[in-house]
């Protein structure tokens, strides 16, 4: 009885091993774009999130000297979507920089909007970026394969059963293989949900400067 108890407690403790997934892995390297925003030249370093949905990290740093302060506004929207309500602006000097987080829900094409204004003037630009997610492809493929195998085994077993009598041993073997297929599908599905996929971010085109209309 003690042996049973200890064995079951060991199993329970083994199940406690935390899932390998963590949404907070090492921050992937960013892509830097140097862009003129009117009279100001700023560098934007854009880093993808570690998991989706998650925040895109953008660091803004001046690339030239200027006097006074510059107000910088950033936003990130899917391509073709309307610009959002202007978010709060960040104010920097020529030695300053800041990092902001812009949330996205999934992979796709986005547009990073940058707007700068100060004593020397103002400027705006759009930077097209593409966020891609590379899941463990073979793990994903396991799920329909295992489910399909399950159905095929049932179908095959039914055909065999209709034609001739099946031995209990063979029936047990078929049932066990169905159990294995279901287990593979279960483990694979949970793995795809918990293991963070590799998220990448790249520029999908040249940045575009928005020229303000002439009064």
């Amino acid at each position: 009885m003690i042996k049973h108890f200890l064995l079951l407690v060991c199993v329970a403790v083994a199940l406690l091993a935390p899932p390998t997934a963590s949404a907070h892995g090492v921050q992937p390297a960013g892509t830097t774009v140097v862009q003129d925003l009117g009279p100001y030249t700023l560098a934007a370093t854009i880093s993808p999130p570690t998991a989706l949905p998650g925040p895109v990290s953008v660091q803004i740093a001046p690339q030239q000297s200027f006097s006074g302060l510059v107000s910088v506004t950033l936003w990130l929207v899917p391509i073709g979507a309307p610009s959002p309500t202007p978010p709060p602006a960040h104010v920097i000097s020529e030695q300053g920089s800041f990092v902001t987080q812009l949330p996205i829900t999934g992979p796709g094409d986005y547009e990073l909007g940058l707007q700068a204004s100060g004593q020397g003037g103002s400027g705006e630009a759009r930077v097209p970026v593409t966020v891609a997610q590379q899941p463990f492809g073979w793990v994903v493929a396991l799920i329909p394969a295992a489910l399909g195998a399950f159905v095929l085994i049932i179908g095959g077993a039914m055909v065999v059963r209709l034609r001739r009598r099946m031995s209990p041993r063979f029936n047990e073997l078929l049932t066990s293989s169905m159990a294995l297929c279901a287990l593979i599908a279960l483990v694979a599905f949970v793995a795809t949900q918990l293991i963070p996929a590799n998220v990448t971010l790249s520029l999908s085109g040249s940045p575009t400067s928005i020229v303000p209309p002439t009064p």
């Binding site: 049973h4 108890f5 329970a12 406690l16 039914m158 279901a182």
Partner: protein
Amino acid sequence: MIASVTQFLDAGDLRQFFELRDARQLDRTKARSTVAFDLTFAIVTLLAVVGLWLDIWSHSTYGADQSIFSQYHLLFYSATVMAGLFLAYTGISNLLAGYRWSDALPVGYSLSLAGIIFFGVDGCIDLTSHAIWGFETGIEALTSPTHLGLFAGIFMFASGPIRAEVARQRRGESLTLIRLVPFVLSVVATLSAITFPFFGSLPLVGKPWAVQIARADQGATLGVLGVVLETAIMMGILLWIVRRVSLPPGTITLIFVVYSLLTMLTTRNPIYVPIWLIVGILSDLAMAVLKPSSGEVWRFRLFGAVVPVLMWSVYYGFFIVTGIGGGIWFTGYIWTGSIVEAAMVGYILAFLMSPATITQADIALAGQE
């Protein structure tokens, strides 16, 4: 042709199929499930339950679905279809082997088939209503009639291996280690089916009301009600099983830990796992000491009161000692009083399940199970 159809309308056969007859009659003629059968069914059921827990996580995190064909919907509907195909294959095989149609499904699985059919019908209505009227949001998603129907369907079909084990113990067989696996998976899946509508309110699943970081208006009232509700759910299932199945030591720990891992798919909060582990170990010790399955009524009722005390003492004690989440903000009266109330709920449930004196009606009722 009418004659071949009306054979399914015989009252005796219908009662036999739905296991509404004397248990000795069922055991004499009905097909019996093997370990491989129970395990396959339990894993497929777990697949459906995992899909549902993840679907709830998806709704909680991203809001309403954009399409009825989400990956989670596909998973749990596919798993349910697989379970139905599996039962159909087994039933047809047994028919070909000479069993009467009412005896073709193994003991305990007739209700599972009914649950799968109910789930399927309700699921079609649910998907249609989503396609026409969109998706429910917030608490409505957990209390809509079609979703409650889905949870009820899962409850019916997931509990098949439990009923099969009850039937085996009735025949004098004991629960071996290998048969423990499908049994535990089935208990966890059945518990999940009852937990789904309430998970956001249960202190040991979705909302630790007593913890400082989760402090909210009316949090004390909701927290105490959550304690009472979660006790009712856990002890309802646990006492029902303990009364009918002699569990090997460590089973309760396994049930609680696997259950907490499953709920973690939705909450993504691992803090409950060590709590459930400790509660499980202490509950197994309580079972070993009190022997609630021995037949003595007072042991069973005392077990019903002791386990909730252990559950909630560990829950509050864990946060008090570790200070995680800022410790607890409930006053002493509130958290100690809620433990007492939980013990009362557990005792009442055990009292209702165990008459003090055995009457002829009780013997007849036991024979029906």
